[in-house]
Symmetry: D2
């Protein structure tokens, strides 16, 4: 898919470790794939909160000196994806506030569907909004709650918001972690090696800092972290799980365990299922890297057709502003992906990708493969046609830009100039992720949004 | 004085010019001496406000592309002095808010003396504060005012705050400029060459953009700028002028006209007055540059003692982090100031500075001059002893760090190892600025603060 | 292997294209894997040569404006790997010189084994060396040659040097490309889509700019490019091919065709051969990415054991200077590689890597896999033990640092704590690359250096 | 004059101090006014030379870590002015070379008039030139000299070159300092406080590092520095002093002692002489800062007309790439200079500048003063009309760009729209600098070049 849809953020929280901000830093690095535009960390030393946030990758935003100023035993962190312009620094997280109970900072992965209504209501009552993040709603709701204790106010506040939210709150002495009732976005709990706890969007963060996975924060659950206690759990909402199935399809790192299952294994399963859809004879199965690799391995194992590396990815990332020459076509794709000409020349190939968004990238990939000499290119997509935008924390194009919302599969096949095209259907996808109930959100494939 | 006390900010507002943000940019450059740590501009195109702000000098924060995004016919800007650390970006201005009447942005030069009380009261009512700037109080007060129109709300809001404030507000379609009832900090009104208006902390900004000075915004006056109208005036407070006399002594650029008078002329007058204080025979009058130059010229003219350039300033600014060698003493001063050895060797000199803050810099300067061969060094200060910190928008050390709060003039003379030391007394300073009433704040010399 | 040995450079030459420097730029980007420390391009407009070179990745060194100054129809470029310190900028290429025939620039991939003797002889005759690059020898030899024509002088010069060199020379009107008699380092010739030629270290550069592969520059061959002519060939030396087999093992990009064969295919062949060496039952074959992936695929296909993604690579590159906490072990490896815990837990795995250099990285990888739950870890290396340093253009540790120079395979296995360890032997490696003669240099495995 | 002509460089050498490179760093900072484009230092620890050089101000090029790598008891440094483009890094100094006697580094202030002939001759003998600096000639001449000892070779080499050169050479164990026979450019010798020596272009460098001025290096003199010895002197050429009088007029820092006399005092003398030329009644004397200030003070003292600060300089340097609006005229000058409107309004003023180069800047200054309300503007120039370009180390426009080469004084007065204009004549200028012989070069005013 090559970055046409993007997870909007990652969150992390560290509690009860004397180098909390350093652990947050390394965790954010492990979660960098969920947002590359800005990064931030707030820490508390029990007396006051300190926040550093800026544009750029985690490694660029922080250095030894900055981390040293973020002292204290607890810290929360955030990486952000953003399409915004030069003023995006204003919209980096954590969001910090001084309010009547003291100081707090919040990080948020997700998207509030009633953000505008809540904000308008708050504004009518005299609130002011200084950023364009819907996360700002939360600090207002907490500040305005008439409850006495922060815990009660958080409960109050989250009952006013709707949509997708995996949240971590930091006060001077406590930390709170929460998932919305649907549990759209992931959030896992781990134990630090020498005591203390970590929560993070994905378990790959645990591995880097040596933490042990305990369990997921449950949909609708609020975890309360206090010094020298085990985390307490409060089930704020009755859980109605609607976990984002696209985390399995594309967003999460394959070495993460998300929603209790291995991302890599789910992707392999999708490949296995895909092998059953419109099976075809071919010389090899290849992947559009990196997203399509696990499914292609699964497809190959299930079909018996050899898996080959047919496309290579160039990882010297960075944007060039140099215009290509007249003869250099499809540069944008070719700067990132190269065909393995000697592998695919004269071959009939099955190419696995995770999804087709606008169609233009797939079209370029097919063209690239054919120009490299592939005799037939059969594209297989490890998810159903992406027909609907996401309102729960993923950056998707508008519906009119989604090719599958506007064309039949046959027409898409024609557009991308593939010899055949097949998608996984919704049921097969659900089977791949071992779903025996309706606990996954598949709205981007079905338009069935949760109210 | 060499940067021991600092004006905290400069503000500017442009209304009714199709390149408003560009004019704000050049104006801020002219006002850069009032704050070098951060810079920001908000503009309005009638539909929405856009803000760009960042750490660094004006020329570094903005480029052609960024200014292009700040479209519209009105703009406000700010430069900031700050001692804050890495998170200071959060405290740059303009402060932006969405609220029930739409969007606004504010820039502020000054300091609110009741900021904590107002903030605590607002927080008790559920407000949240996301920065450490007292300016944030204002957007809250405006948002929470029960008046219907922005103008009325601004009036409401400024009646709740105390202290020093020269403010410029920008809404989608209007601009407002205001000075506190005491008019501590300057703010002037000018006319742009092809229509439109400018307000700025100092008139040197007018000169660069080709604007004509009209008049000062008056203490307690609110100016309202609407499209295709002359600015309307509303006297919100009965004026009780207490203009910061230190603007004349040190802060303002000598080519500015501040509080209706030429800064350069006022400084020359101080030199003339100073020539009357403990007159002494000497070979020459020299200045501690750049602050002391106009007074030294005045002193020389009044005394008939020749003015010479006895100390040179190195303008390749920037901080070095290289430790000096053991033999290199007083490097910090010497990186900025060099003695003109051939001028002062064997000479009896009068050296003029604007003020003595901690005393250590003056001590180093006297030492430097003596080491360069001056036989006698008589220091003359173009203001009274600085005995009290400022609460009206100037960054001053605490009282226990102010040498004149803790030593007699004789003791100070001894400490700085000068052959004689004399200050201007309060009356002479007031005469220098043509004061015939008590319309100047002299609290830093007298401790007589306005309540 | 994870970057313990490094190809020292890449070279490229463009002739006969009106946007020559732009093509050089994109080609260098495709060759970035061969050197990340510095980059440079020289171009000629027929009148004079212009050179821009600096530290950093290709995309950072050049921008639209800089490329625009590099006008003309011919250009040569270089990327450089370097361990040097702050003064390394002095050692970036192209090397430029004005001399009696005008101006020239040279780029060089390789290493001259008689550099010191040649340099000393030149110095004795009054030459001065301004850098620490052995490439500087060449411009001296050309300048001092008594031949009249540049072509003859190049022939003269290259006859004086020994070792490994793939070179591209640029004069005001011509370009020359040359490989040493052994052809240690690769260099290929291609045709640009609308006329003109390209030479480059690897064919992956051709693919990006739309060029067609023609053939390799032959060992000992000099190609002469003149306007409006096909390249002329001059066989300067009788070829004695000793092509660097490590290009196949590790350095070259898998999508490149090097020494006439597909790099990917050679690596797959190595995996196939490896499957025959000490075969073992296992649950899966995994690779140390990215180097080991093709061989692992080949191994899996040959052995019938499933290929899985068992280790993931984090491509958000960059160095952190943050010290890990006490509990975070093996951070340096873990920042780059993560175990796929759910894949390997409880499994008996075969892990394929391209080579073992010092042994410490392999040790950490085995440990990481075991900590992730692998019950057995059998390491297979797709090349023979690396026992000897390279003197032909590869940055290798000294012999006493090479674990295989100092331990038996059994001892290495013990040291890296693997359950078994096996290497490919020299013959099997040669079979993998279809060698039926002794046309490959295997000195790093055998110590048999060419004199 | 405002930077229309520029000194091309500064040099410094430190010998016999354990923090030699640090002293070189601070000295270069003091000499920054002589070149802002690039800076470099070479040091020797007795075994080898190390060089760091890069684009940018001294403070930007070096940091603690880089200085630490420049270990050893001797160091030479250079700052460079340059109009060159992006490749200028190649032309930074020191120039380093390995040659038959070991290693050397050279820094050079000046310009060789026979550089092309020498270079062409060297090139004909097989030398190669890797930069565009004429300084490169010197390392070739030394390397090719048939003398055995470095000292003899230096003597050999400097006898082959003509023009202006103040040079410092560094070998592994010695340092050499040399001025051409005419002594065009300054070079002074000082003693470091705890032993060791310093040579520098201007004495202002001595003051910063606490060194004592001993004497100038004499025209044609070579100083040899060896460990634990006083510097030895060798008079290589019979001195024919032709010291650059423009050092007094504009280039040198006023606190420096150059050619044995105080720069400030010379400038004051020029002002005194100028007061005799076409005397005129006026309300005040003002200077074009910073160059004109000392002469204006001298003029005022001699004429009895008060000195005032009539133009202010903005020292927040840096280039803006923002286009001015249509109404903003003469922005380039106004960004740097502002009129003191309140001082000059309604006044008849004499304005002192050091020189007029193209005329356009002077024209803008006169216009600016008149727009600010000056009733009459009489311009007085503290040097004769600049009619001829400099070939001895100053960056001057071509003759056809020099207004005084193409217009009479009357015409220039008309062009710059002044009410009167007068220059100092050559004799008066010579009187100002106490010249009783023909020991100054005045070629830029007279066209009388030394052969």
């Amino acid at each position: 898919m090559l970055e046409e849809m993007n997870e909007k953020c990652a969150v992390v929280g560290i509690f009860g470790h004397k180098e909390a901000s350093k652990l947050a830093y390394f965790s954010l690095h492990a979660l960098q794939h969920r947002g590359q535009e800005a990064a931030g960390i707030s820490s508390s030393d029990g007396e006051r909160l300190r926040t550093i946030k800026d544009r750029g990758l985690v490694m660029k935003v922080f250095n030894e000196q900055k981390l040293a100023t973020l002292s204290g035993n607890s810290a929360i962190g955030h990486t952000r994806y953003s399409t915004a312009g030069d003023d995006s620094i204003l919209d980096a997280q954590p969001v910090f506030a001084r309010y009547d109970l003291g100081e707090m900072a919040i990080v948020h992965n997700g998207n509030l569907t009633n953000a505008k209504e809540v904000r308008d209501a708050l504004i009518r009552k005299g609130a002011i909004f200084q950023t364009f993040m819907d996360t700002e709603n939360l600090i207002h709701l907490i500040a305005k709650s008439e409850k006495e204790k922060l815990l009660d106010r958080i409960v109050d506040a989250v009952q006013r918001i709707e949509g997708a939210f995996s949240l971590v709150f930091l006060s001077r002495t406590k930390m709170f972690a929460m998932r919305d009732r649907n549990g759209f976005r992931p959030l896992s709990l781990g134990r630090l090696p020498n005591g203390g706890y970590i929560v993070a969007s994905e378990t790959c963060a645990f591995d880097l800092v040596g933490a042990q996975f305990i369990r997921d924060v449950e949909p609708g659950e609020l975890l309360i972290f206090e010094p020298d206690k085990a985390p307490m759990s409060l089930q704020v909402f009755e859980p109605q799980p609607k976990k984002c199935i696209f985390e399995y399809v594309y967003f999460a790192r394959p070495d993460s365990r998300v929603f209790g299952q291995s991302v890599y294994q789910m992707r392999k399963n999708m490949g296995v299922e895909l092998a059953k859809v419109r099976p075809i004879e071919a010389d090899m199965v290849i992947a559009v890297p990196d997203g399509g690799v696990p499914s292609a391995i699964g497809y190959a194992q299930a079909s018996g057709i050899p898996y080959e590396m047919g496309i290579m990815r160039n990882h010297y990332i960075g944007r060039t502003f140099i215009e290509p020459t007249q003869e250099m076509r499809d540069l944008k794709v070719k700067m990132k992906l190269s065909p393995m000409t000697d592998v695919i020349k004269g071959k009939k190939i099955i190419v696995i990708d995770d999804s087709i968004v606008r169609g233009t990238t797939s079209r370029r990939i097919v063209k690239m493969l054919k120009e490299a000499g592939a005799t037939e290119v059969h594209m297989r997509i490890s998810s159903p046609p992406t027909t609907d935008p996401c309102f729960y924390g993923v950056d998707t194009p508008d519906k009119d830009k989604l090719i599958a919302a506007n064309m039949t599969v046959d027409k898409i096949c024609e557009f991308i100039e593939a010899d055949s095209l097949a998608y996984l259907d919704e049921n097969a996808l659900l089977r791949s992720v071992n779903s025996t109930d309706d606990h996954y959100c598949t709205a981007c494939f079905t338009g069935k949004y949760i109210i």
